[in-house]
């Protein structure tokens, strides 16, 4: 089963890190990602640029409005996403508990795990409606 993991981090904490601290952090994360990949648990993922580079779209008075910045302004922003392949929620929790990124900023980062919805049935139904 697939689990979408949203990694939240405090960008201010990241900004305070020295270059060597950042490098160590990256090395650890990549090394663990490799573990996940080798064991067939890594089904995709990306790191995200700072939230100030985000654009947010909304439907407003009959047209699309675009604002700059993230959907919600807050200290913790999504810094990365990952798709995990795991047998169940506890397996996903266990895999992610070991991710080095969790230790960034001593508690200022967190992972939200969201089980993916199996859309197959919805898609088949929708295909039938459209055919």
């Amino acid at each position: 089963m697939k689990y979408i993991c949203l990694g939240y981090m405090n960008e201010e904490v990241w900004a305070t890190l020295s270059e060597s601290e950042r490098n160590t952090f990256m090395d650890e994360c990549f090394s663990y990602d490799k573990e996940l990949r080798e064991n067939g648990h890594f089904a995709g993922g990306e790191g995200l640029q700072e939230a100030r580079n985000a654009a947010t779209l909304k439907w407003q008075s009959g047209k699309v409005s675009v604002t700059d910045g993230p959907f919600v302004e807050s200290k913790e922003q999504i810094g990365g996403i990952m798709i995990l392949e795991a047998t169940d929620l506890n397996h996903a929790i266990r895999l992610l508990s070991k991710h080095p990124s969790l230790r960034l900023g001593r508690g200022s980062s967190s992972w939200e795990i969201r089980p993916a919805v199996d859309l197959t049935a919805f898609m088949e139904e929708s295909n039938r409606r459209r055919s």
Binding site: T87, D88, L89, N90, H91, K98
Partner: protein, 416 residues
């Protein structure tokens, strides 16, 4: 052909389905950690898929899987110890361990499954935690499936499992079959979990979704497993009890989902095979003296199963069995059941006196079945007004829709 990839895939799949819990249990004993053992078990099966085709199937596949899993775990900790200095220590310790898993014999592996059951059902864990751990670690159900079966969210269930494992680790709950003098108590905690799972499936309200696991058959499967590993008379009794109850399932609800009482069930629809197996088990369990609470309940179920017609029920014996049960397990619910049996045996007046005594004492006053039973006996003795009062009280307390419909029907039958 023997080692074709298709053959290997099927063989490993079969072993995974039938024996992965055994491999897992032995790995927990060797590695002393649930999570590590789960990863190691998966690693071992993956290695089997990769290696057996080329190198041939080992002569003892289970021992191979255990041994490979253990090495993979040590490898894994060594790699991960980069991230966690505490684990470095663990690696050294594990490598120094003198256990040679290639010596593991099948009997030892079976004992490990029993250890796993006793650990998951350790009385230091709450009943909820015990149930969750048993369903996931012994029955190999996913967190989502268990949550779905117990009608709670997967995240609540996941948290329960994480906490239970942490508690086992932190409280250093040993991975062992309890010593002889603790066995009756500790076995009681295991049987309680199995019976709870069974009842959750048996008495659950309708509205099940397609993905809902059948908890009753899961409990029976677990009962059978425990019965093979530890043929204690009470295990035999519980398995018999579950089978005898389960045998009535086809007859206990109407096509519209309404409850059908035991006396109104079409007994030809009871599952004969389950009854025969249940009766044999009850007889065997009853050989031990004194019989335990599950055996006594099973014996009561057996007397119902043996009656081809409600009138042929041996209520005298059933009343006697409830009295024995009450002696070892004093509970107002059992007292209520004995009162109902007594009403059938000695007449409604005798039963009514007993129920009134329980209610006057202040017990079961918010238990709808006590009021239902009282209402029925009042009706039989011609106390229509009192019957109505009791049915109304029962209706105010009943939660499930089929039960409410049943009571409403009874009320309307009383007339005005």
């Amino acid at each position: 052909m023997q080692n074709s990839s298709e053959h290997i895939f099927q063989l490993v799949g079969d072993i995974y389905r039938n024996k992965s819990r055994s491999v897992f249990a032995t790995l927990i004993r060797l590695l002393k950690d649930f999570d590590l053992a789960e990863d190691a078990m998966h690693d071992a099966f993956k290695a089997a898929l990769e290696q057996w085709g080329e190198k041939g199937v080992p002569s003892n596949p289970l021992a191979w899987l255990v041994s490979t899993g253990r090495f993979k775990a040590i490898d894994r900790i060594r790699r991960e110890s980069k991230f966690d200095p505490l684990q470095k220590q663990q690696v050294g310790q594990m490598e120094a361990d003198t256990i040679d898993p290639s010596n593991v014999v099948d009997r030892a592996i079976e004992d490990d499954v029993l250890r796993l059951i006793f650990t998951c059902c350790h009385p230091a864990l709450s009943l909820d935690a015990r149930t969750a751990m048993t369903m996931r670690e012994v029955c190999n159900l996913t967190t989502e499936a268990i949550a779905n079966a117990f009608l709670i969210t997967p995240s609540t269930m996941a948290q329960r499992i994480v906490r239970a494992k942490a508690q086992i680790r932190e409280a250093k709950i040993p991975f062992e079959v309890p010593p002889e003098h603790d066995l009756p108590d500790r076995l009681g905690a295991v049987l309680q979990v199995i019976y709870l799972v069974f009842n959750e499936g048996y008495y659950a309200s309708s509205g099940e979704s397609v993905t809902r696991v059948d908890l009753s058959s899961e409990a029976i499967r677990l009962g059978r497993l425990l019965h093979i590993l530890l043929p204690d008379p009470e295990v035999t009794g519980l398995l018999g009890l579950m089978l005898l109850h389960e045998s009535r399932r086809p007859a206990r609800t109407s096509p519209t989902g309404d409850l059908i009482l035991l006396e109104d069930q079409d007994r030809s629809r009871w599952n004969r095979d389950m009854i025969d197996e249940g009766l044999t088990l009850v007889e065997r369990a009853f050989l031990s003296t004194p019989p335990g609470p599950y055996t006594l309940q099973a014996a009561i179920a057996a007397l119902h199963a043996e009656a081809t017609h409600p009138d042929a029920t041996d209520w005298r014996q059933i009343t006697g069995l409830y009295s024995l049960l009450l002696r070892i397990n004093p509970s107002p619910i059992i007292e209520l059941n004995r009162a109902i049996a007594m009403a059938m045996h000695k007449g409604p007046e005798a039963g009514l006196r007993q129920i009134d005594a329980i209610l006057e004492r202040g017990d079961l006053t918010s238990y709808h079945l006590a009021h239902s039973a009282r209402a029925e006996l009042c009706r039989k003795t011609g106390r229509t007004d009192q019957a109505r009062v009791s049915w109304e009280r029962a209706l105010a307390l009943a939660q499930q829709a089929p039960e409410r419909r049943f009571i409403e029907r009874k009320l309307s039958e009383l007339g005005t």
